[in-house]
Amino acid sequence: MVRLVKENYIPFLAIVGVLAWAIPGGGHFVLKERKRAIIIFATVFVTLCIGLYVGSIGVIDPVGAQPWYYGQVAASPVVILLGYITAGGEYPVHGKPSEIGQIYTCVAGLLNLLFVVNAVYLAHIRYSEAGEG
């Protein structure tokens, strides 16, 4: 049992981490933390959508606003897809809408990063407990 645990330890943590990033709450979902997963998904989704609503998809700018983009990407791979669409500069946004949109989308990404770390830590705890038991 302990040997099996050690063999699958890293892939298990990696799967939980990648799922948590791909779908906000996905990591908690596979750990049977369904209520947390739903709340996490709703929080990141709503925060990201408010940012995109206020500033438009133009706030995701991998060329002109790279530091913000790195934070935004943590929200989901969808942001990378949107980055490809907006990279040509077809969706210009300036002033207050840009500022608010960037803050919201970047905070959504950073919150999801927190959830990814939390999901991987929970997975580590679960695996350690399974190994001892």
Partner: protein
């Protein structure tokens, strides 16, 4: 394993979300540089309060979660309001 049941869900999420976003959120909203634009911080504080409590509470029950989140939300908003008042008073003292 569990990834098998999640992969279609993942694909559906990525496709539907990107379609919705590229179809609707293509023009920015009108937000002026006014004192009321500060209110945009309120939903953000809500998100942060929910995110903090969802990771910290050992068990999630509706009543307890809502209560704890509201207390944290209120604490942050009150702290921001007090900080704003202090800064405003300092500015007023310096300028007048």
């Amino acid at each position: 394993m569990f990834t098998g049941e999640l992969m279609p869900l993942l694909g559906y999420f990525l496709y539907s979300f990107s379609s919705m976003v590229t179809g609707t959120f293509t023009a920015p909203d009108q937000v002026g540089v006014t004192p009321s634009s500060i209110l945009w911080l309120v939903p953000l504080v809500g998100s942060i309060a929910v995110a903090y409590k969802v990771t910290k509470l050992p068990t999630i029950t509706a009543g307890n979660f809502i209560k704890e989140t509201l207390v944290l939300f209120g604490s942050i908003v009150v702290f921001i309001a007090i900080t704003a008042l202090v800064l405003f008073a300092l500015t007023w003292l310096i300028v007048e």
